[in-house]
Symmetry: C2
Subunit: 368 residues, 2 copies
DNA sequence: TGCCTTTACGTCAACGTTGACGTACTAACA
DNA sequence: TGTTAGTACGTCAACGTTGACGTAAAGGCA
């Protein structure tokens, strides 16, 4: 077992954070060294380093020169340990995958917002793995992170109750907390998927398929609910064969759509539950030469969606705004806001670029 | 002036890391509290928390129950301060923009590599701002980051000499260090741009324009050098009007290309120096109905480049490999590798998707 | 049965910094 | 000129944890 593992499950990992590796690295100078060289007390050095009053100009100059001579660098960890009610200056951002466009855009917006408050972002990808989420949360708590932004991979969040009670600001993003009442910024997924489906229905489509993410992912459930609600409102019977769960990669999406196209009564329109499904669907349609014959509405926007032929009609979440709102809420908590938890639900918008406006074959005047 | 500002220029920023904000948050329990409740010494609690031998089963159980009862959480900062030659477990990744696909992909690959070593990544976007780079480096040094991955915004790096001497592992990525000899992982930009240009020349093009980033950005210089070298090898005169510096946005790229298309002797092929220039160029070509008349090779790949009509021919950097190599080098340094600095130069590859294979008008058999 | 070794505790001080408090000297005011 | 207040220092202990060292008791071996 590794050090600090109780109350910090992340420490169970064999790490380089233990002492080790070749020759010891040279020790950095401390205020003691600076004090000795400048001929003053450590407290006086601290005053100068911190820009506090109580040091004469001459003494200050001597200390600055000594600090420069010794390459002295302030130790935030020691300072934070001693100061009463001090903060670490770190916020943890636990996102789905910092490499994908949604998480990357969110991280960027969050970083911008938090930089205003002098906070740094410790970024992590959860890859929908609940155990990794818990490990990283544990590590961040051990580091006394000032707050956490969490796009949870887990479905229940009681394990965070003690951290929340201990005063750790938590803001959920894209998914809501369960078993815990704290701040969240999400999208109205149901409304978004309903909008996508209604848009296709308004265009004349009646056989509309939906390809969705893992069933247990909350946003996936909500999007499916919206899809079904739109069908119901239009009095179009729900065909379970047109709803595909658990599509987790472009390749899988491509396969599913290709299978649809090969079927005897294929859908004339598709709703893709997330970006990689959209991309996979587009590939399948292109391969089959059907990009202008089958309508497609994707969930979430991404760069270049307008340059694809036809342009991709999407339900767009404003990632910049989501990140900015999360940052604002978190900074508010850190500044002392003790109000009831906020649940901001942003509305996505329909962006028409062509792929969602393709008419079904029976309505298409030129039958192309 | 703010605390710890000497030797830590980042601290000049007004921050929330100072004490403050409303009601004090509840103090967390410490080992002292656990020891009191369990009826043992602090040292014995430390033994159990750290999984060290020297605690009986009965005592261990009492301590674990007390820790759970008190919601005790290990304090990594205090532990790190006390342990000799301990590490913070943090690596700073200073990238161009964590929201763009190149930086995002790199961050992800880096995160994956460093997670193997139990390290967390503190991510920051520099936006090509040298002052921000220095501030963030300063902050990370104050936090005693174990290492830094730096895609520098600055041109000179003497300011890092003292950190390097102090034993802080530094790995430059995408750009090399100047005035400092440390590890780096870069791409052979010159070779890549030369490859792009030679490819167009081999396709019959003679009037090839290049749109490039800010002149002082090192990768931009190298790409320009490669472009010029290919022209020279083909004995094609260099036309300064065909080389455009300082293209910083899609909109700007769109404008430049539109201007080219309006000129009396427009280029028949384009080399785009980076992704956003590529995207801007594609928009301009589409608007002018010229996507199949002007050849285009972009620098660096991105998602969906194959779905654009025509598919984008690009010089592709293997972002995953870059990130993995950076991580490997950094972990090696942390594990004690004291060898001479490594300068890994990866070769980009030409990905043909159509846009770079468009022939010039005089060679195009159907003249479209 | 006696002696030696090992184990399970605990004490003390240290890490690098800062808050609280004290002292001496200087400056300002009456 | 004397008194009071303010400034420029310094001392001491604290933050939460861990390394070094010590002690007592128990177990094993001769």
């Amino acid at each position: 077992m590794v050090k600090g593992s109780i109350g910090n499950t992340a420490a169970m990992t064999t790490t380089l954070t233990q002492s080790g590796g070749g020759k010891d690295r040279p020790a950095r100078s401390t205020m003691k060294d600076v004090a000795r060289l400048a001929g003053v007390s450590v407290k006086t050095v601290s005053r100068v380093v911190n820009g506090e009053p109580g040091a004469s100009a001459a003494v200050r100059e001597r200390i600055l020169q000594a600090a420069e001579r010794l390459d002295y660098r302030h130790n935030l960890g020691a300072s934070t340990l001693r100061r009463k009610d001090s903060r670490s200056g770190i916020v943890g951002a636990l996102l789905q995958d910092v490499g994908n466009s949604f998480s990357a855009g969110l991280l960027r917006a969050l970083e911008d917002a938090l930089r205003e408050g002098g906070l740094s972002v410790l970024a992590a990808s959860l890859d929908e793995e609940p155990d990794r989420e818990r490990d990283i949360v544990s590590d961040l708590v051990a580091r006394r992170a000032d707050g956490l932004v969490l796009m949870p991979a887990s479905e229940r969040h009681e394990y965070l109750l003690s951290e929340h009670r201990a005063g750790l600001p938590l803001v959920f993003v894209d998914r809501r907390p369960h078993g815990l009442d704290c701040d969240s910024v999400t999208i109205d997924n149901r409304m978004g998927a309903k909008l996508a489906t209604a848009h296709l229905i308004a265009g004349g489509h009646r056989r509309i398929a939906m390809l969705s993410d893992l069933h247990q992912i909350e946003t996936a459930k909500e999007r499916i609910a919206g899809y079904r609600a739109a069908l119901e409102e239009a009095q179009i019977g729900f065909d379970p064969l047109l709803l595909v769960h658990g599509v987790r990669s472009e390749e899988e999406a491509t396969r599913v759509v290709a299978d649809f196209l090969d079927s005897t009564d294929p859908p004339t329109a598709l709703v893709a539950g997330r970006n990689i499904i959209t991309v996979g669907a587009v590939r399948a349609l292109r391969s089959a030469g059907m990009v202008r014959k089958v309508a497609l509405v994707g969930f979430d926007d991404f760069p270049l969606a307008d340059l694809i032929e036809p342009g991709l009609t999407v339900i767009r979440q404003d990632v910049r705004r989501i990140g900015a709102e999360v940052g604002r809420i978190l900074l508010g908590r850190l500044a002392g806001d003790n109000g009831p938890p906020q649940h901001l639900v942003l509305k996505p918008s329909l962006i028409r670029r062509g792929s969602g406006e393709i008419l079904p074959p029976n309505l298409d005047p030129v039958g192309r």
